[in-house]
Assembly symmetry: C2
Homo-oligomer: 343 residues x 2
Amino acid sequence: MKKSITLKDIAQHFKVSVSTVSKALKDSHDISVEMKKKIDDYAKAHNYRPNPYAVNLRKKENKTIGVIIPNILNYFFAQVFSGIEKVANEKGYNLISCISNESLAKERNTIEILEKGLVSGLLISLAEGTEKSNDHEHLISFAENGIPIVMFDRVTDDIECDKVIVDDYLGAYNAVEYLVKSGCKNIAVISPLDNLNIGKQRLKGYTEALKAHNLEVNPNLIVKIFDLELFTAEIRALLTRNKVDAILGLEEFSAINAMNIAVSLGHKIPDDISIIGFTNGQLPKHVSPKVTSISQHGKYIGELATKKLIERIEGKEDDKPEYVTHKLKTSLILRESTRSIPE
Amino acid sequence: MKKSITLKDIAQHFKVSVSTVSKALKDSHDISVEMKKKIDDYAKAHNYRPNPYAVNLRKKENKTIGVIIPNILNYFFAQVFSGIEKVANEKGYNLISCISNESLAKERNTIEILEKGLVSGLLISLAEGTEKSNDHEHLISFAENGIPIVMFDRVTDDIECDKVIVDDYLGAYNAVEYLVKSGCKNIAVISPLDNLNIGKQRLKGYTEALKAHNLEVNPNLIVKIFDLELFTAEIRALLTRNKVDAILGLEEFSAINAMNIAVSLGHKIPDDISIIGFTNGQLPKHVSPKVTSISQHGKYIGELATKKLIERIEGKEDDKPEYVTHKLKTSLILRESTRSIPE
DNA sequence: ATGAAAGCGCTAACAT
DNA sequence: ATGTTAGCGCTTTCAT
């Protein structure tokens, strides 16, 4: 066990006091230039680094950020995470990261651990379980510690903090509008996300866009999926019992799975049915036909949220007391599963 | 700022000493039952938790594990990470996680930070930059601290530690053998991974399997990709200049991209050309035809590596000095891009 | 220009 | 059964 070098070791080596070394390493004006140089060189040569635990114990500040993500296998969150990591790294922060696995209990447990001064700030996107139960006590309690929080994507009004969210409403609205303009009249929507606020927002964007274009909102074309086992059956039913000329998938796999079912039923894409999905991964580019998608810019969300959090951590106490919610626009990426808009 | 409660606060409240409280909370036999009960209840009521920094400063031990992953957008590593997180969480460990982004410099930097006692153990898969440069000084230095390391997937012999790897050789070997048995004779291989040992192992599995079945190893059918920009051009050249009846893709997207190019060239899958890929994500299931793949069980790798690491962390000093390398079998998951083996 | 001392919160050996 | 003390490594105020 290579014991790592401390201030004391350096002090003894030069037969000076610990405080001299401490100040020298901080380039204090108290210390003579020669002394500083000697100490600095020695410290570098021996690869001195302050013990982070001692520093924290003294100063009550640390360079770590807690991250709670619902599910890292979801490409969107992986993108967000890579954005978080990038900015945190640039600013010299470490990440303590946890996956809530969509569970309220795990999210709560993690927060209780982090609460005890382990982190200087928290980045969180709510677990599905949390959104369903609408229980935010653990977050409120965490916030009372005065540790800054930034919520992203899946947020709640119950917590006052900075937020970075996606304009899901507009994303869906624009997608539907595009479908209408390209000639679709019977647009179905598939939502496996009805437990989530973002799911509700997207659905609202869908209905509002239809109304804005004087199209009837047909409840038979709104398929809410609560059990993925039934996905295929429900979509087959949708497509056989109704006239459908477009499908909007609100979640990562909905659009692509629905497209595959439609194809197996003999429909031509996009001639018979257009397809658009909220999807971020590699999938839409690699399937055939390539799927038009609504991209959420996950990496940028992560970057922005982290930047805002670090500003709060490092900012003056009462710098800007008012919290801001950044609502980011999605992009509609046109590919082969939709028709073009006639001139 | 809600100031969190300390032993001292509790001690003052009951007008006893700090050590009494400390012992009481540890259920020491020194302390009377009534006292313990009082203190315990009070601590619970006030949600007391020991300050992790103070504990670490005293005891030189902490419940956190460092994780260094080359790229979280790679589904395989996301799977590994979710396995790591699961086990760590079960055992009460936190994760400090970093993405090396395939860069040696970033990997080195991260390790230097973690080295200073921030973590009790390290899980790492080498960055591509590290494998290419073959520079492992930073790891050797880290290991000298006596902090246990477990390497997974991308490992090196230069470091003596427990390792969890995939039998990439056998994975490729079995895949080629399957192709041969299903009637393929001109099997091409695509490797964008020639900088990585795992890439070399897979390639070796390919050549050895051919030899074992008395098939010539044709260098024209071995395509090493060093610049992804050229992927399409190289594969088109491969398919137009040579007779090819099967393709083995050594990396996540190689097989699927090659398949799409083959289809665009008019080849039928799997009748003209069979396709197999080393790929873990959702892709092979969702494209058409569905792609036969070699699965690496990422989540299990993460779980096993973490389990082994925690055993080292918690084990007696000289418990078992000999390190073990766990080599895990891959699975060949047959889908629609390969033909069946005749009876 | 340098040093002594106190203290962050906790543990553990050693009194009482 | 309870308390005293020293100390982990560092910062910082107040001497000198």
